[in-house]
Amino acid sequence: MPSAVVDKFFRTNKLPQIWCPGCGHGIITRAITVAVEKLGFDRDKICVVSGIGCSSRATGYLDFDTLHTTHGRALPFATGVKLANPDMKVIVITGDGDCTAIGGNHLIHACRRNIGITTIVFNNNIYGMTGGQYSPTTPKFDKGTTAPYGNIDKAFDISNLAASAGATYVGRSTAYHTNLLISLIENGLKNDGFSLIEAISSCPTYYGRKNKKGDAVNMLEWQKDHAVNISAASKMTPESLEGKFLIGEFKNSPEPEYTSEYQKIIDRFNKE
């Protein structure tokens, strides 16, 4: 995918990426760089932090200060970076497993603190890196290598979870709906507090194959056919929304940001 943003923001000598052909993660990673380009941020003041998973490998390809951490822990590492240096724009890249299973507790607390971090969850409904085990977002009855008879867990709705835990900006888009995705990431980055953008990705290699979802193109078409923008949804009947999922901006309610609140405590001692 040659383009100006790729040349500018990717470590092009590290390409091609490790992702499978047709993986949705590349599209989402590129969308992040487009949003950064549009906002014109100082790239030397951007730190991108990730956990472990296929999605989390994205940091290696992005030409910023990048921190590829341990499984599930990207948010607490990012919290340290942000609180230590609030001048930095901190972006977290994480997967559905990374963010809501092993890292679930960190997620709700980062939301609650409303610390200035923009988190982009690459949700492919599966553990890709370890070979297709079911994740907290695998739909009920779908299959994974550890759910050969169908998954009996109920799936998390990551956006709703983040919004109710206190994130002040929340939106969802898909790898197919890239323009919406870019604008949500842009708005998320403009929000001083904690933003979460759920990016529906696709893993044709494991989730697709296990669940007979066809090839990469079929999976993107599925996203196109099943996503309904929240603004349109209000005018639709419950029957016509059956089997669909919502995309769009779910929450935008700025509140005081954590590190600026902390700065106020420091300032009390600077007054003389």
């Binding site: 790239r43 030409d63 990048t66 340290g80 960190h106 902390y262």
Partner: protein, 377 residues
């Protein structure tokens, strides 16, 4: 300048030392008997422009201090027993990524939730091998309130100098003990900061070590735009599957500490010149060992003490030398025998080794060491 002596707890001396060393970031999660370190950090850090955060658990606290240190702030966390277990994965991360930070473990009775308010020394081996994979470790063991102050500074200095997480391995005796101490003026302290890169930002190779095996460290946010990963990485910091790269990295990390052992290792010994018997102990137990030595000396027995100040790396060379003349080493520790394994490994058959162990939640009393020595004589 006249300095006021102050009555102070070990945990408080730790925070005083940390701030004097330049600590400007602390992340923690409350746990007895280390909680005062978090409480005092939350109070004192904002006054010096530093940051404190209470994270959701110890895993997160360990992660946060690594993130903070990457931006250039000297960072610390403190915990006890169960929390130290939780820190292990990210402690290893700090090791392979060579991010300076200080991890305090005020040991309490274990295993598991164990004896929350009682002293123990059950994590000597965990401090060495708690995180997975081959890795070097520096762990310091103070045995007084004043020494806690000094060793906290040293922990920061060593971690900055060698780019390694340093463990301050305290025990409940030292953490909660109150002593009258006179702290030195900050101008008298030697403070070491991490080695910074020179030259072009574009040419910076984040993990290219100098001859001392230590790579200079840039801070995030300064325009170096480098990559940090817990995967095996080459000099540029990017992951590699090459067996040559893997071998080189894991060996360099170990050699980095091995090469500078003489600068790192510290111990204290008393009355060893003529000693037939030497009591080996660390931390809170060393106080009982001192008294025991005096009691036995007054009875005419030639007893000395040997106290590793860096329990890791262990003062191996000196112990080996002592074994040439000493008949019996008595290793006293508040566990079922951990440090003694290291002593046995070093001394082999050159001297007799006896053990004094206690795991009932009480400190070791001097009389217990005396009794043991009189028994084995």
């Amino acid at each position: 300048m006249k300095r006021k002596a102050r009555l102070m707890q070990g945990n408080e001396a730790c925070v005083e030392g940390a701030i004097a060393a330049g600590m400007r970031f602390f992340a923690g999660y409350p746990i007895t008997p280390s909680t005062e370190i978090a409480e005092l950090s939350s109070e004192k850090l904002p006054c010096v422009g530093g940051k404190f955060i209470q994270m959701e658990d110890e895993i997160a606290s360990m992660a946060a201090i690594i993130g903070a240190s990457l931006t250039g702030l000297k960072s610390m966390t403190a915990t006890s027993g169960p929390g130290f277990s939780l820190k292990q994965e990210n402690l290893g991360y700090a090791g392979i990524t060579e991010v300076p930070c200080v991890v305090v473990n005020v040991q309490r009775g274990g295993p598991s939730t164990g004896l929350p308010t009682s002293p123990a020394q059950g994590e000597i081996m965990q401090a060495r091998w708690g995180t997975h994979g081959d890795h070097p470790v520096i762990a310091l063991t103070p045995s007084s309130v004043r020494e806690t102050f000094d060793l906290t500074i040293r922990a920061f200095n060593l971690s900055e100098k060698y780019r390694i997480p340093v463990i301050l391995l305290m025990d409940e005796v030292i953490g909660h003990m109150r002593e009258r101490v006179e702290l030195p003026d900050t101008s008298e302290l030697e403070i070491i900061d991490r080695k910074r890169p020179a030259g072009n930002k574009e040419d910076y190779k984040a993990y290219k070590a100098d001859e001392d095996l230590i790579p200079p460290m840039a801070n995030f946010g300064e325009g170096y735009r480098y990559h940090v990963t817990g995967l095996v990485h080459d000099e540029t910091g990017f992951p590699s599957n090459s067996s040559v790269v893997a071998d080189k990295l894991v060996r360099r990390l170990a050699d980095k500490i091995e090469m500078h052992k003489d600068d790192i290792i510290q111990w204290e010994e008393q009355n060893t010149e003529d000693a037939d018997i030497v009591i080996v102990s660390i931390g809170g137990v060393s106080r009982a060992a001192d008294t025991a030595m005096k009691m036995l000396r007054s009875k005419g027995l030639k007893v000395g003490t040997f106290r590793p100040i860096t329990v890791w790396p262990f003062p191996e060379k000196r112990l080996e030398e002592l074994a040439e003349k000493v008949n019996t080493f008595v290793v006293a520790e508040m566990n079922l025998g951990q440090m003694v394994l290291e002593v046995e490994r070093i001394i082999k058959n050159k001297a007799k080794i006896e053990r004094v162990n206690k795991v009932n939640g009480e400190a070791i009393y001097p009389e217990e060491i005396v009794t043991k020595i009189e028994e084995v004589l």
